[in-house]
């Protein structure tokens, strides 16, 4: 299946390989139309055709670093020894936790859940600090949604709420939602009306036909007013004072939403991580559902990490819950706020941590980081990070989508197979995690023998 070829004309040139239809895992757009030019002698990607500014940086700046595969307390050790030590730590811990996963392929995520099932640990993903509130809202109200191709083919009203895709997901507009021509949208952008709802004018604003500025922290009130108007109810006459949006603008938007043929509401962390959190997400999802009484309307969180959607899916199919899952009783339990990593660490609960493709030591709250410093940490990452430098056991792993294959899920739950560009001297995270799992099984079997 691999679409690789070596142009014969370049025999004396460097050893070049072209990878067609490769996938960029930098953000949740997971664009699968990359054409990568790979210099195999230099282990570098020299050209990433079709990539956005973020994708180009992702591909072109990736090189193989001169770094040990595995370290214990900052000292280079053989891979096997590090896996032994990681297994010992997890086996002996009373409350081991695992966090991250959103920049790993599903194959590795599946092993990570298996490890936690075995050691009765706690597994959580970066969802708990980004669209976790949307997951919670989803449990309450459900969701009317669609794949991005359906938006391309049918959406004549596109609304973004609390997000700035021009900077965070540069190809969202151009590949999926605004500019492309679709089956029933023959003229692309001309056939769509684009609304941006945000607290400020962002670089995404020029794409929109209309910018609606909401007062910071007033998204819920604005959403609830829209729901009321859609249902023909009265709203607070002071709505403009409360939300910063006039009644006229609201009425016009409601008419537009009710009268479009296929509407979509995309929402970002400007909605999920500000005042109201899961109430905000819930209000937005409910608004989209309400509108189905009048027309076809869908909603979709704009997810950040390349495979955070895969992490949600894998953790859900193995445990029934999307994130924040605890196995301490021998079966999965879900309780955000209790089993979510920031809360666990800030409370000082965990006594060992497995950090996969994530750097909490650089971006978690202070109390959480302080506890992390007190417990043995095992880290898997493709680059040195604050977390890996402080880790008891640190594995340097190959980069997914560049050096390894596997499966990732785009933000709309579409699974895509990766096409690696060149080999890496580092193991994959799946290999490391499988090595740890195998050792844990042996440790447990020995424990049972001793007990018997």
């Amino acid at each position: 299946m691999s679409e690789t070829k070596t142009p014969e004309t370049e025999k004396d040139e460097p050893n070049i390989r072209i990878v067609e239809d490769a996938t960029c895992t930098f953000c949740g757009c997971v664009c699968d139309d990359m054409e990568l030019t790979v210099d195999l002698d230099a282990n570098r990607i020299t050209k990433a055709k079709n990539a956005c500014v973020l994708g180009r940086a992702w591909f072109l700046q990736h090189g193989i670093e001169d770094h040990p595969q595995a370290m214990i307390d900052g000292r280079e050790v053989p891979l096997e020894e590090a896996m032994d030590e990681a297994a010992r730590i997890l086996h002996e811990a009373k409350f081991p936790i695992t966090y991250g996963l959103s920049d790993s392929p599903c194959e590795a995520q599946r092993v990570a859940v298996a490890i936690n099932d075995l050691v009765r640990g706690n597994i959580d993903t970066t969802t708990s600090v980004c669209h976790g509130p949307s997951g919670i809202a989803f449990q309450g109200v459900g969701e009317s949604t669609s794949t991005l191709g359906e938006v391309k083919n049918r959406a004549d009203l596109v609304i973004y709420w609390g997000g700035n895709p021009a900077e965070s997901h540069p190809r969202h507009f151009t590949r999926y939602t605004v500019t492309p021509k679709g089956r029933y949208i023959p003229n692309g952008k001309k056939d769509r009306y684009v609304v941006l709802i945000d607290v400020r004018k962002t670089p995404s604003a020029p794409v929109a036909d209309q910018l609606i500025r909401v007062k910071p922290g007033r998204d819920f009130e604005l959403l609830w007013a829209l729901r009321a108007l859609v249902r023909g109810r009265d709203i607070d006459p002071d709505i403009e004072k409360i939300t910063g949006v006039s009644r006229e603008v609201l009425d016009e938007l409601v008419e537009r939403m009710k009268n479009c043929n296929f509407g979509v509401l995309f929402f970002g962390m400007g909605l999920t991580m500000t005042r109201g959190r899961h109430f905000n997400s819930g209000a937005l999802l409910a608004l989209a559902t309400d509108l189905n009484k009048y027309t076809h309307f869908v909603a979709k969180p704009v997810r950040g990490h390349g495979n955070v959607t895969g992490a949600d899916n894998v953790v859900s199919w193995q445990t029934g819950y999307p994130f924040g899952v605890n196995f301490h009783r021998g079966y999965p339990r879900f309780n955000p706020g209790e089993y979510t990593t920031v809360d666990l660490l800030a409370r000082g609960d965990a006594d060992a941590a497995l950090m996969i493709a994530t750097d909490p030591a650089s971006n978690f709250p202070k109390h959480a980081i302080e506890h992390l410093k007190k417990i043995p940490v095992i880290s898997l990452d493709a680059k040195p990070t604050y977390t890996s430098r402080q880790a008891r056991v640190a594995f340097m792993v190959a980069t997914y989508g560049i050096n390894t294959g596997g499966t990732v899920y785009r933000m709309d739950d579409v699974p895509i197979t990766l096409r690696p560009a060149f080999d890496s001297p580092f193991p994959t995270d799946e290999e490391v995690l499988t090595g740890i799992l195998t050792r844990l099984k042996k440790l447990r079997a020995n424990g049972r023998k001793k007990a018997a």
Partner: protein, 558 residues
Amino acid sequence: MAENGTELRIKGGKVYDPANGIDGEVRDILVRDGRIVDKVSEKARTFNIPGMVVMPGGIDIHCHIAGPKVNLSRKLQPEDHRLDVHPGTDVTRSGVGGVTPSTFATGYRYAMLGYTTAFDAAVPPLAARHVIEEFHDTPVIDKGFYVLLGNNMFLYDLLKQGRKQDFKDAIAWWVTAARAASVKLVNAGGDEFWKGRRNENVTDVNEKIDPFDLTPLHATAAFIEAVDELNMPHPAHIHCNNLGHSGNIQTTLDTMKAAEGHRAHIAHVQFHSYAGELGKRVQTGSEAIIDYINTHENITTDIGMVMFGKATAMTADAPLTWMLRNKDTKWINADTECESGCGVMPFSYQDTNYTHTMQWAIGLELFLLSQDPWRVMFSTDHPNGASFRTYPRLIRLLMDRGFRAEMMKQVNQKAISNSLLPQLDREYSLYEIAIITRAAPARALGLANKGHLGVGADADITIYTDDENRERMFNAPRYVIKAGKPIIEDHEFVDDHIGRFLHAEPVYDPAIEDHIRPFFDDYYSIRFNNYRVDASYLHDHEVMPLRNSGNGRKKKGK
């Protein structure tokens, strides 16, 4: 598969093996290397099971157990999991139950009923990879799926242009690309009405589907013909239009008539056997439907029974779930570009409710009026009519008229008096149960090595303690053997097993890809080259032989 020389002698049980005409005779069943054989060595491990009932492992021909719709349902209902946890053991993984269990719990719980094979009935091709990934985490059972093609825009374009051969080639390409076992049609034409006409739906199989210049009936007939002509092991698997509406029997009859001369499988026919007027109280239409099926050998069906309690509506028929939705019930709609729709909604069948009771009664009536158990098979359309965990109770309702009468007293009396149920005193035998849950689904799926215990069959064997209370009996098999490996012994898990993936590879002209590729460039959001499920996902799998293509089964890798 156990290919390590494991040998078993299952001794002294009463064997129910309808495919080989064996009706409760005491026989020994011999197993070696995962297969039934006629001879084993002295070293064979012996199970002495005098008086126990031996059957092939159960086969679910229609259920929803994996993929995006099921995972959405899992995510949607934490309350359902919390009430029904599934602890792991030394040999099995943990999980959660409820009406849509986690993957591991799904596999183990099917095994705990003596089921060893199941087919997911509705997978959009774009989600095939997801389904196969979940299958890897669904233990014990062998599994496959039917791919949703009945609202595929590219295929509709070909039909509109009258390109019959291209249509057939494209179907075969899609089945192969997705690694499906057969083709599923759901509410043909409905997607375009739902997504493209502000949530409308098809109401008449003869109305035109804009912009394709086709009717649902034309499309359905074309699919039935093409899938049959491709010699697929299982024919087109059809969810008819107008599911759940009073008076839908005419649609169902029209659909079956459109299949004349070709094999077709009508799915969960209970939901399509309603007389009465549209929008009014449902009346039983079971006689009209089952009479047609009884007299038309080209039709197979599964019933899609209803059992009272918690269920979840989960279907590619999105407008149906919207119709069922009460004010403010949590609801999922999920459109898949160019291919499919999807609706998911928690649902509960209540024995005090007229309609729900009527649905329950119609499911039983269809079975009790069926004249050919080989073509009328067992299902609840899990989790739509009920969870698969209700199978033992439903089997008892079919086998035990006293139990049925007791239950009829406890449900909505108006519905019972409008139903045929009080007049029906038939009881299914164990032999007939073995047909509708084992032998018939295997035959309908073209699985020559499943659903029976003859020499050469897969050693998927269930052993029950004989018990007059058939619910208790079918609820807890004493032993379950999968691919020759004991998985459950004395009701406890003793081993784990991954299970095999089953799929078909119909033949097509590869030139069809040149027609499909430009459509992808224009209307899909992923690249054509990234669409096909590559071989790395298959692991332990088996290609189901096409019909009339010899019995040699192609076996691949492990």
